[in-house]
Point group: C2
Chain length 227, copies 2
Amino acid sequence: MTPSPNLKHLQKKLDYQFKDIGLLEKALTHRSAAGRHNERLEFLGDAILGSIIAHQLYLQFPKADEGQLSRLRAFLVKEKALFELAQELDLGDFLRLGSGELKSGGYRRASILSDAFEAIIGAVYLDSDFIATQTFVLNLYRNRLGALSLDMAQKDPKTRLQEWLQARNIEIPEYEVTRSVGKDHAKTYWVNCKVNYNELIAEGKGASRRKAEQDAAEKILEKISNG
Amino acid sequence: MTPSPNLKHLQKKLDYQFKDIGLLEKALTHRSAAGRHNERLEFLGDAILGSIIAHQLYLQFPKADEGQLSRLRAFLVKEKALFELAQELDLGDFLRLGSGELKSGGYRRASILSDAFEAIIGAVYLDSDFIATQTFVLNLYRNRLGALSLDMAQKDPKTRLQEWLQARNIEIPEYEVTRSVGKDHAKTYWVNCKVNYNELIAEGKGASRRKAEQDAAEKILEKISNG
């Protein structure tokens, strides 16, 4: 287990002082470390975060429909977003990991950092109440919420392409992986997307099959909108 | 649109008096009706309900791990559970539906009723605060929470069977629909499950393919545990 870090510094960054510092310690403890770990706090924090963001979006976007609100929320609470917030707080410096995770660089891993971020929200909630946690979360999200716009609630390209085709009774597109290059964690995929409309075809590429498909769908949509 | 019902009666059942009765009216209004409907409130209520239940389970099951807490929550907030709660409140009598949904019996439909139930939670939250909504929700869930036990956090039979086989390096089971009887909404499926262990085979049945598969997996697990 890593030596106890200076949690004063972290609390300053969080702009929150814990009454029960044990809660913060637990939130920072990965299951690989000895002692009580953060998974239950993560479960709680995930739910509390979801409702705080839901309420904020409800207020901030009075004209958004349910689908748009859901997509905006997904954008704000997806692992990538939580990972970035965790990085801004340098959470990696304060994590408690088992020796295996330590050696393999677990303090840099997106899943471990984003889980710890959620666990901290759970810890703040148990340490205080819903209103205080709301202030805490909205403070951390201030810039992101400020930059948010309804455009970001757009459906992903594959969904938009499929809906466009379905509205015209055209069959759904075909996606085919044409090649992939690189090893497990640094692979690039190429995907062809074919639609039964003007014989359109486009090639997309990305770090996963899914991303390559989205890229290909986006290119088909561009071709369609360019006539 | 249905005539304005007597919301006094509903508020008595809910054991909650709205300061802004317009919120309750909106929560009861399906998108098929004219006017402002309940979809945004449902989005909000779903999130608030999720965090209230998460917190309650966190307190009620101090030994449960995150997977068990997640499964218990899923059990309490799945459509079927919300539908039953909505029925206990006779929500169908108070729904505001468009004429199409009215004619087709929308006030009895599980999705419409469970959505309205969540929307009411969102409405209570906006009408009051988190603590009052917590009291409101826990009151409605009192019997269900009292009857809850960790056994209910068991993984479903298909998952348990697959994990049991994988732990023994046996390939995953094969499921095959052998027949189905009945029309669209009243169909019954029969599924065979075969595993590469003691030549076990079992037949399951259910109202959906998935349910029939779960039933078949459960029977294989019974055969395994009976040696």
